[in-house]
């Protein structure tokens, strides 16, 4: 699949006006009512997304033809010409009409490739090939696109030439760099990538640039192909241990394979779990400092899709049980690993601060999702304890209190965002890969800020326990109370119909205050006061909470008990 790229200058001008008007209008929307706080957060989030994502792209287009930095730069002249006449600009046809390379036989073309690669790898300090092209360097700005285009044609029509190039890709990484500058078949990028990754030449700039170009091609053209590659344990190990790979590209690649591919084809879910199983084995090896940052972040992003099945698989037992994976509550698909190994997997993923916070966001979103899904059956069905089990699994993967604090703050911030709809694959089909990233990034910035605030304050008094277990336990409690408060139709089923309207009003007021003032919720003891109100004055609610809070995993969570490793 190739994506045609282009724009209509006059329509982009109009879009610029409409986007700015929308931003201005969103800026003018205000409400100081605590009950409107969630809506106002989404209003602000939407405005920021327009400011951060839309405007820079629109500005870049209006300033030049720079909408697609990854497309062929030889089209700049064409773009200028078209813009002058207000025509539709398209970047899809990037083949030059003729070049001197078209007249060469395969041997001579390989020689040209060798010479060009040799020139680049001499280490003359002139930067990457992309920089040379942008900088107008001789050969790179006027001939490399022709060489790339000829290689693409030759690969597409001559299977023997393609196989030879793939076989020798380690010696000719420039051929893979060319992928970013011409219309190569996807199969070539797929076939070239393992050899490039497994060569381990992370010190070679052209090598890394080749890998990044091939990865970009695969992830934009076919998430399914990205998943196929991640399913190769050697490729996965190379990615996990990559030294200099662009973290954004690695993250997008992993997310394309682990999330987008499954969303497009649920039959591939088994392959996604296979990748996680391989990562579990890898984490048991030489990754004490964590996986490559981009891979870790891509795995964390993708957990929105996998977390419900994972939590279901953790099971009731906590002592070194194998974590079995069941798809759609059906038969067991297989074993992801024993509990220690899976905790170690997520611990390795969460060595990176960004991935750690994203995992916190996943936990917070899962909390919201579970409680809203359970609804009035919250007492009768197991479910709430799965949040506790997941929280304990993640916590056990971490090895320092600061990391636990960040994880807890991210989970709590995300829980308040009420983003349970992000959990799953099918349910989140409206959410693009970038959507996960943007939501996560927004929550991350708030969560990290909260975590830093909490960390700098320390424990204000003995009323407030800010540990991971206590924070997660409190979060579950508040979500349950919020659900019960907001669903009067469920009060009879939950045996809280004798709670008076005044008491509900008071509980609602305090929940609103906690939601709108999270810092005060801790520092000023608002949660503590709510606990006391329920325990002392509303026995029906107190009884409801005790029914499921007495579960072993919930108790362990509340007491922040860390299991001893066997």
């Amino acid at each position: 699949m190739s994506i045609e790229t282009g724009y209509q200058p006059k329509r982009v001008d109009a879009l610029n006006w409409h986007a700015r008007a929308a931003i201005g209008e969103l800026l003018s929307i205000h409400s100081s009512d605590p009950a409107a706080a969630p809506a106002m957060r989404v209003v602000v989030l939407t405005r920021r997304n327009l400011e951060d994502q839309w405007l820079p792209l629109i500005m870049a287009i209006r300033a030049s033809n720079a909408m697609v930095t990854w497309s062929s730069s030889v089209l700049s002249g064409l773009a200028d010409l078209a813009e002058r006449f207000g025509q539709w600009l398209t970047f899809a046809d990037s083949t030059s009409p003729a070049s001197r390379f078209a007249t060469l036989n395969n041997e001579d073309l390989m020689h040209e490739l060798y010479v060009a690669g040799h020139l680049n790898t001499r280490g003359d300090g002139k930067g990457s090939i992309a920089e040379r092209i942008d900088g107008g360097a001789p050969f790179w700005s006027d001939e490399f696109a022709d060489l790339a285009a000829e290689l693409a044609v030759r690969v597409a029509i001559d299977e023997r030439f393609a196989l030879r190039l793939i076989d020798e890709i380690d010696q000719h990484p420039l051929a893979a760099v060319a992928i970013g500058h011409a219309d190569f078949p996807l199969a070539f990028s797929q076939a070239a990538l393992p050899g490039l990754l497994e060569s381990g030449r992370w010190w070679s700039g052209v090598h890394v640039e080749a890998i990044e170009n091939a990865m970009l091609h695969v992830l934009t053209a076919s998430p399914a192909a990205a998943l196929d590659l991640l399913g190769d344990s050697a490729v996965l190990a190379a990615l996990a241990g990559a030294k200099t790979l662009d973290p954004t590209i690695a993250r997008d690649f992993v997310r394309a394979g682990l999330y987008d591919a499954i969303e497009a084809d649920r039959a591939r879910l088994i392959d996604g779990w296979g990748v996680l199983e391989n990562l579990t084995v890898l984490a048991d090896g030489e990754f004490d400092d964590g996986f490559h940052r981009g891979l870790a972040q891509g795995v964390a992003d993708s957990m929105f899709g996998y977390v419900a099945t994972l939590a279901y698989g953790i099971g009731a037992g906590i002592d070194n049980d194998a974590i079995r994976i069941h798809i759609d509550s059906g038969d067991s698909l297989g074993v992801l690993g024993d509990r220690d190994a899976v905790a170690n997997l997520f611990g390795t993923v969460m060595r990176g601060a960004d991935a750690r916070v994203t995992m916190g966001v996943v936990l917070g979103a899962y909390t919201d999702r579970v409680i809203n899904d359970l609804g009035a059956t919250i007492v009768d069905r197991t479910g709430v304890e799965s949040i506790a089990r997941l929280g304990l699994l993640l916590r056990d993967g971490l090895n320092d209190e600061q990391a636990e604090l960040t994880l807890a703050a991210a989970a709590e911030t995300a829980r308040r965002q009420r983003i349970g709809d992000l959990i799953g694959f099918g349910a989140g089909s409206w959410m693009s890969a970038s959507g996960v990233g943007v939501v996560t990034r927004t929550v991350v910035s708030q969560a990290v800020s909260s975590a830093m605030d909490l960390g700098s304050k320390g424990a204000p008094d003995d009323i407030v326990d800010m540990s991971f277990g206590s924070t997660t336990y409190r979060g579950i409690q508040l979500s349950v109370l919020r659900y019960v408060h907001d669903h009067p139709d469920a009060h009879a089923d939950l045996a809280v119909d004798r709670v008076s309207p005044e008491q509900w009003a008071e509980v609602g007021r305090r929940l609103d205050a906690i939601a709108s003032k999270p810092d005060g919720a801790i520092g000023e003891g608002l949660i503590h006061d709510l606990d006391n109100l329920i325990a002392n004055s509303i026995p029906a609610l107190d009884s409801l909470w005790k029914q499921f809070a007495g579960n072993g995993d919930m108790t362990r969570l509340k007491e922040n008990g860390r299991r001893t490793k066997s």
């Binding site: 994506i3 045609e4 790229t5 282009g6 724009y7 209509q8 329509r11 982009v12 109009a14 879009l15 409409h18 986007a19 008007a21 929308a22 209008e25 969103l26 929307i29 409400s31 009512d33 009950a35 409107a36 969630p38 809506a39 989404v42 209003v43 989030l45 939407t46 997304n49 327009l50 994502q53 839309w54 792209l57 287009i61 909408m67 697609v68 398209t90 970047f91 934009t220 709809d421 409206w430 959410m431 693009s432 890969a433 970038s434 959507g435 943007v438 939501v439 907001d486 009067p488 309207p501 005044e502 509900w504 009003a505």
Partner: protein, 92 residues
């Protein structure tokens, strides 16, 4: 005569309704009409439009939430009025 708390709840409900209507009618809810494939095409424009649709879905959900919260406020106000009316001799 309604009590102060009931009046305040109804006022809050009214403002939440107004906020919901304002968000629903805002320009951002129809911005995608100007950002179709006849305006721009490619991976980054596609990501922008997908992100916008995600935000629009969130805003629609929040609009529903605001109206539900306003309904709850009105219900609570009605219950407070009823409770006040059932207490003979109590001045509002």
């Amino acid at each position: 005569m309604p009590g102060h708390q009931a009046i305040e709840l109804r006022l809050r409900a009214q403002r939440l309704h107004q906020l919901a209507s304002r968000i629903e009618a805002s320009l951002v809810m129809s911005l995608e009409r100007h950002a179709g494939t006849n305006t721009w095409r490619g991976r980054r424009p596609l990501l922008c439009v997908n992100l916008l649709r995600h935000n629009q879905a969130q805003l629609h959900a929040e609009v529903d939430g605001l109206r539900w919260q306003a309904y709850l406020f009105d219900q609570r106000a009605a219950r407070l009025d009823l409770a006040a009316a059932l207490q003979p001799g109590r001045a509002s």
